[in-house]
Symmetry: D3
Subunit: 135 residues, 6 copies
Amino acid sequence: MRLAVYRKATFNAAHRLHNPTWSDEKNQKVFGLCNNPNFHGHNYQLELKVVGEVDPETGYVIDLKIVSDLIKELITDRFDHRNLNLDVKEFQHLNPTVENIAIVIYDLLRERFDPKYELQVRLYETPRNFVDYPA
Amino acid sequence: MRLAVYRKATFNAAHRLHNPTWSDEKNQKVFGLCNNPNFHGHNYQLELKVVGEVDPETGYVIDLKIVSDLIKELITDRFDHRNLNLDVKEFQHLNPTVENIAIVIYDLLRERFDPKYELQVRLYETPRNFVDYPA
Amino acid sequence: MRLAVYRKATFNAAHRLHNPTWSDEKNQKVFGLCNNPNFHGHNYQLELKVVGEVDPETGYVIDLKIVSDLIKELITDRFDHRNLNLDVKEFQHLNPTVENIAIVIYDLLRERFDPKYELQVRLYETPRNFVDYPA
Amino acid sequence: MRLAVYRKATFNAAHRLHNPTWSDEKNQKVFGLCNNPNFHGHNYQLELKVVGEVDPETGYVIDLKIVSDLIKELITDRFDHRNLNLDVKEFQHLNPTVENIAIVIYDLLRERFDPKYELQVRLYETPRNFVDYPA
Amino acid sequence: MRLAVYRKATFNAAHRLHNPTWSDEKNQKVFGLCNNPNFHGHNYQLELKVVGEVDPETGYVIDLKIVSDLIKELITDRFDHRNLNLDVKEFQHLNPTVENIAIVIYDLLRERFDPKYELQVRLYETPRNFVDYPA
Amino acid sequence: MRLAVYRKATFNAAHRLHNPTWSDEKNQKVFGLCNNPNFHGHNYQLELKVVGEVDPETGYVIDLKIVSDLIKELITDRFDHRNLNLDVKEFQHLNPTVENIAIVIYDLLRERFDPKYELQVRLYETPRNFVDYPA
């Protein structure tokens, strides 16, 4: 049977929800306060789930040093203390909802992990609002 | 791939575990302190999971305002600061174990959400005792 | 210098806020949902602080077994899975607000602890509402 | 003896640490990533402590509705989903460190609370970094 | 539809990661600080998930007293305040990584639960590192 | 008015409670399971409180980089993944109760902080047992 290991990381970022193909009125109506043109921000908490077999030599599914190095290189070094809309190229043309941020994180990590591992991203925007991708 | 979004809510309620078809002795034996005829209570924490596709226009699976309005109308406005056994009609003939409360919450929400969304209820009776429905 | 040690305990109880010298209208106006005649309830979390000198022989301020036995005897055995208004004699003529519950707990514990220890009670009614006594 | 009651609130805001009397190099050296000109953000958690006597009629130190209304009017309605540097007048000429934000919050609340109450602000910038004012 | 109930327990234990078929250098290289020959330790938190049907007579999936008695007998009475490598026979020839501890716990519990229940073990080594078995 | 800033850190260590001037029977009687000769362990969480004035130039009480560097050098580099009794010289002749560990941490930090800062150590041995020094 396979086993899942989890690793947490955090990044503190500014963002704004906005669809550039809509009018200001529609953006305001749909996104409310989240549409503030001067941005607001969150302490995002990332929880990466990695599913695989236990290696009988180490007793590990994966060395968590590898996991944390990849999270640092691909996610926190690029997202932490940044403005997601202005500073992170993946959101130049993508609305940084917590859903879309989770999908971007998954895609960035997925292409660098061995395909033998199944991945899932849980991303908290606040302690009360969070998403899982894939579900 | 589908994505899950979560929304939390709380309600503070009194309840008592009791099976009216049993003797007092059997109720006492099976339910112990939870059978106290004068009731006890809990801070229940509800975590609703909604699974669906991301809407490319909004970047949302669902507008969480819709989710929180439904939770308020169907659950917290009816359960919060209530006695579940005496004040909530769903438990007039149903023992309000955390299992049964979770099933009632799921059924109430399920009939008002678009069938394209998959739902799951996690309900905490205490920080140490909680259930998921469906599993 | 003195050192503080802390011990936590929980009790799950029903209660109702009510002043019997007031009209029903005034009770309803002041206490709102908390005045529900059928009661509601909470998971109360107690955090007892005991301040004293470190005993050089044990390295303890106090044996926590003594602390937890006193909390069990005086508080949780009497309050847990009870209706505070109906089942606990200290609240027969005292409104069980979180403030008054904290004062009752402090007084019960104070008379059984050696006077060389300073005590403080923190009581959570919910994760968001709590009190310290004395301040 | 006096009793302390606590009330929590949250606001999600963008900010940037910057001293306009310093060079860009010095700002970068002292504030590091927090000096990012495009801002970053946090889920701030506010915990207001109100110390006073228990009113024998209500069993309350203060009606928490009054406390939460004042926090909403003075703090969360003005800080939540805002850019502290650009949108909140108190930080037009004051660096929005967590220390300075706590002092501003305390001063705003202090002038609207009855002087018989002692106040203290605890403000979390992240779950690991927080301050108390006054100490 | 089936329902999942959860039960938590904790045990505080010492351990050391070590593969006796490797050289000291390789153990040091792979396991780093976790290879310290004098051991280190953790507050392990166990979260057992039990999946089954709700019994219509009790409203329970399973009496949690049965669950907590089995966890006490098989796990906490044997692991708590122990050195996993030296005091627990299951780890005499098995490296006590959090993965392997979770598998041992699952196997011990699995053979004593009725096969109609599906089980899953979540084990936290720290608040940031945890595993699920089976995944 | 002065302001308090807090910084958290964790270390995972093994320990054993033992008074070498007592018989084995007395050690067993007083310290119970904590006296296990093969050690057990904990995830200790340290919360350092630093009280001072806010510097008007930076808006900081103290640069938290200085605080975290001192905690790393003096505490976590020396205590983390260690056996406190065998590997840390301060506990060669001092029983590593949570009280004594907190006092040692305070003394180590106190001599390296500017006297203008007031310090307090909060140390969690488990989420339920913790101490403050000084009280």
